[in-house]
Subunit: 290 residues, 2 copies
């Protein structure tokens, strides 16, 4: 999917909502457990209930891997079921030496390998350039690089200050800024067409600085909803004229109810978020150029 | 597996060789492709030929994931076939927020989840403490944390110098040193009983410094063999009285021949490495205390 396709979808749906399909078999409504593939049955109902207002779906691969081979089958069925207009994210946080990242890229991007054809994958930056670039060999596919995450451990390394060396332009910057700048340099001036960054919503006050570094790149923001970030804050600092945000919610939508009404309750939660997003788009993007 | 079990195995076999089961279906000897599970048939032959001198096996999960659900079945069969006395490493380089790392830990450590029961997993440090600790909840299981990897991209972030702040003991240290110190502090004074570090063999000159930081922790050293590191150098700086090293070789063993003699050629390569290791053990560990 191209940048402009994604942007167009956002303004058409008046939404930049990503739904995290972190489907935990231990939390499914009991009546689904008799289905042949309960995880897929749940995801299908969630997708049916939300695809008119969600612009992206993000299965976290851990939830599927933990089910072994049948989990991968649930993942394949789920991905095949997501409407083509929606952006798909393999939340896998992979990253290895070049020839191994090649294989991870095949896994998630080449339907002839593992049967999967995601639009994008989340990637961990620690191993550097040759661990990231293999994912960009696939035309039209995206890397979503971890920059500043929303969990407590983000302070351990991501916020450490680095020396730039004497006389350098950015003499002292946190690691996550260095990750953003460096990754942009790998991809080039139009990096926003292939590269997004993960930025945790609990760090909304850092969003202004990140927007200066990455004025056009999409930011994938987890942590709104169950993890407690503020959608209004994130939107104020993160929205751009192209949209520029994918705000993820998972548990607050998937497990809005554990009964037979789980899909309709998910739909209500989703619609409430979309309504708030439409207001934010009018307020912030309306002001800028549109 | 405990530290002392692993150490005992090393001195009994006179070997600290780990074999990387990076089994690429595109590189298998053609006569195996008619088997019902060619990847497992290959791994089984390699294990049969090498288990008397290898102390550890390390399947890189990317190679199995790229085959979809049947790849996970090959991985299960392979893991079940590895003799119990050998240490097993899921080379997965996972890491996510706490509740998701929990699921990755279940995947690789809880046989009732995905059918896998590895002794250890490689973990990426970028997301910090809560992304690493869930793997240590399982008794007897190990975390092998990426510190200084052997690929070109290791220079992008791992070697950046961080500020320690004025008056701090370690005022300026590369990120990978900070990762080692910080992770040790999470685990406690006996961190060497649960925590290893990945240190690339192409960085042999940094091993002395790393040994000072981590005098007892095992180091998993990839990059000897096809990637060109020197076994003698690594052994000189890395061996300890408990062994302290797992040196990995993959391609140089697996693909020593692409014909029907692949297993016997793998055996010869393995035996040659073990012979060199026995000499290193006598020279370096013999000298120290034994």
């Amino acid at each position: 999917m191209t940048y402009s396709d994604l942007s167009e979808q956002i303004f058409r749906k008046q939404s930049y909502l990503c739904i995290g399909l972190d489907t935990d078999i231990r939390k499914l409504p009991p009546h689904l457990l008799t289905e042949s593939d309960p995880v897929f049955a749940f995801n299908k109902a969630i997708i049916d209930a939300t695809a008119n207002v969600a612009v992206a779906y993000k299965p976290n691969i851990a939830f599927y891997e933990a089910q072994g081979p049948r989990g991968w089958e649930s993942l394949q069925r789920t991905l095949d079921y997501i409407p083509n207009e929606c952006f798909t994210i393999a939340d896998a946080k992979r990253g290895d030496i070049g020839n191994t990242s090649d294989l991870y890229a095949r896994t998630f991007f080449d339907p002839n390998a593992a049967g999967l054809d995601f639009d994008s994958i989340t990637v961990a930056p620690y191993m550097g350039q040759d661990s990231v670039m293999p994912f960009l060999k696939y035309d039209g596919k995206w890397v979503i690089l971890l920059a500043l995450t929303s969990n407590p451990g983000s302070a351990d390394f991501q916020l450490l200050k680095t020396h730039g060396g004497p006389g350098t332009e950015h003499a002292s910057q946190p690691i996550y800024e260095k990750v953003i700048r460096t990754a942009q340099s790998w991809v080039g001036p139009d990096s926003h067409e292939r590269l997004m960054f993960v930025v945790g919503a609990s760090q909304a006050h850092e969003l202004t600085a990140i927007r200066q570094l990455a004025p056009k790149n999409f930011l994938l923001v987890p942590g709104v909803g169950a993890q407690g970030g503020s959608l209004a804050e994130v939107s104020r600092y993160g929205l751009t004229t192209g949209g520029g945000l994918l705000v993820n919610a998972s548990r607050s939508i998937l497990y809005a109810s554990t009964g037979r009404d789980f899909a309709s309750r998910a739909q209500s939660e989703t619609k409430a978020l979309q309504t708030e997003m439409a207001v934010c788009l009018a307020e912030h993007v309306g002001e800028i150029t549109r």
